[in-house]
Symmetry: C2
Subunit: 308 residues, 2 copies
């Protein structure tokens, strides 16, 4: 089963307290597609300008990412620049230039009309509707959102939620969307808006998964040194969606969803070890499997051996 | 094996966005002792004034808490008053009256000279040294700290850390003590100061356990309604220490420590469901066992079923 990833492809300039790098491969769809490519076949739909380095396209191709849906437009590629604060938990956006992304209309390559998994990243809800309108019975649809759309496009976002199987968002967005301080209440409230599954990302504190079948709490990998948090959420979503798409099954089970959340967390933990997608370039399936096992070890404990 | 709990016994006035209650049973040793009493025999060392209600003493006795070390002094009991903000994650201290606690010198009842487990809560490091000086070979010593002692008594705190097996503190205190933003780095740095084991409490995000044998991440129970967070950390520490003391063994193992962290988390999750120690008054061993099992279910996932 293939995964359709639709979203932004960007050139990023990122400053951390340690270093600054310009014109890095970035964008939510780039991170998600490469992360997912470790698990499944990926079709990437996005747009780049005529300044986009051929080397990045070659890298996507080397990851077996299908680029039939990659549009090349006249003009400059979407650019984002951000600066992280000393604790790397917060950041300021220094500049955003939408460039060719401003007039991007996602159009699927003909071969994509079959029902793949879909994952749409950081696009305006109206565009996300447009993507879904073109699909015939996608098997499992994952959306994420960002604070901007909650502020300026809430009605479209709410109608979108009725069309998706899973929403991925961070803790601040969950509170903003529901006006609830308890993440537990917020997660359940978002489920009531449509998605069967809700994943609430908590950065250094891991992730909560809300499902009709139950609740899952996944810790974060204990990294001592984080070099660049950019793309962590997108790498998480890509790993999660990629693992689900790799399962050649009808309905997705809660057990599989929990494994998918762990795979997403594993991929995000690698991604923040270096700038841009650099760490993913050298990542191996054996390293992924080893870190998955570490996640298992660090979160397990014995069942009751005696009555309390 | 019995557990010695030394610390404050207070009458609290607590205001939340929902309600306000005055003259509640409080104090770190009260919470820790009652929480531990669900697992083991407890000796409580503390001081109360002549205004301390007999009903509270009767309640300790009903929990089989040994009160031979409870001093009654002329004057008023230690009083604390606090107000929680709307999200219940932060609070302001409105007033603190040390009263009889100001001149408290912990003295063990003669029967306590045997080597029990020790747990000292929120006392000045000098007093904690004094307690340890009176002990003959305690089996396992747990200390906690608070931001105040990091600010005003850091040298005594640092020398104390060399005498304890485990330090329990919250995320803010861990960062303050080490001047490190990464909780992972902070936890490891605190281990290097003395304690073999360090538990970093993260409130709604659970708890991290650092051990020589490895790392354990424990999620928080998904409570939808929190009524009063007061005493959550002390109830956590009491449950953890009480479970360890209930194990009639020589050395404490990493497996047991992880279970103890889960038991502590279970006890804290109950405690915040009502003001003061009200929820613990009706709590049953069966409810504790059920919630322990829920913790296990919400944090487990399947091992790798295929290569990534």
């Amino acid at each position: 089963m293939s995964l359709l990833v639709v979203g932004s492809i960007a050139l990023d300039t990122v400053k951390t307290p340690i270093a600054e790098h310009a014109d890095l491969l970035g964008g939510s769809a780039s991170y998600a597609a490469v992360s997912a490519s470790f698990f499944t076949a990926v079709n990437l739909v996005g747009v780049v300008g005529d300044d986009f380095p051929q080397g990045h396209i070659d890298y996507f191709a080397s990851r077996k990412v299908d680029l039939a849906g990659l549009q090349k437009a006249k003009g400059k590629t979407f650019r984002w620049s951000g600066e992280y604060h000393w604790d790397l938990n917060t950041r300021d956006t220094r500049s955003v230039e939408l460039n060719v992304f401003e007039h991007f209309t996602p159009t699927h390559a003909p071969g994509y009309a079959a029902p793949p998994d879909v994952r749409r990243a950081h696009m305006a809800p109206a565009l996300q509707h447009h993507v879904l309108d073109q699909m015939e019975k996608p098997r499992f649809v994952i959306a994420d959102t960002m604070d901007l759309w909650i502020n300026i496009a809430k009605p479209e976002l709410l109608s979108l939620l009725k069309r998706v199987d899973m929403l991925i968002l961070n803790d601040g967005e969950a509170r903003q969307l529901t006006a609830m301080t308890s993440l537990i209440k917020a997660g359940r409230a978002i489920q009531a808006l449509g998605p069967r599954y809700v994943a609430v990302k908590k950065g250094e504190h891991g992730c909560l998964l809300f499902a009709p079948e139950g609740f899952f709490s996944c810790g974060a990998y204990p990294l001592e040194d984080i070099h660049d948090p950019t793309g962590a959420g997108d790498t998480f979503a890509g790993g999660l969606a990629g693992y689900l798409a790799s399962l050649d099954l009808g309905a997705v089970t809660f057990d599989q969803l929990r494994q998918a959340v762990v795979y997403g967390s594993v991929m995000a933990s690698f991604n923040v070890e270096a700038f841009s997608l650099e760490r993913l370039r050298t990542l191996t399936p054996v390293q992924i499997a080893e870190r998955y096992t570490t996640f298992k070890l660090m979160s397990q404990f014995e069942a009751l051996s005696q009555a309390a």
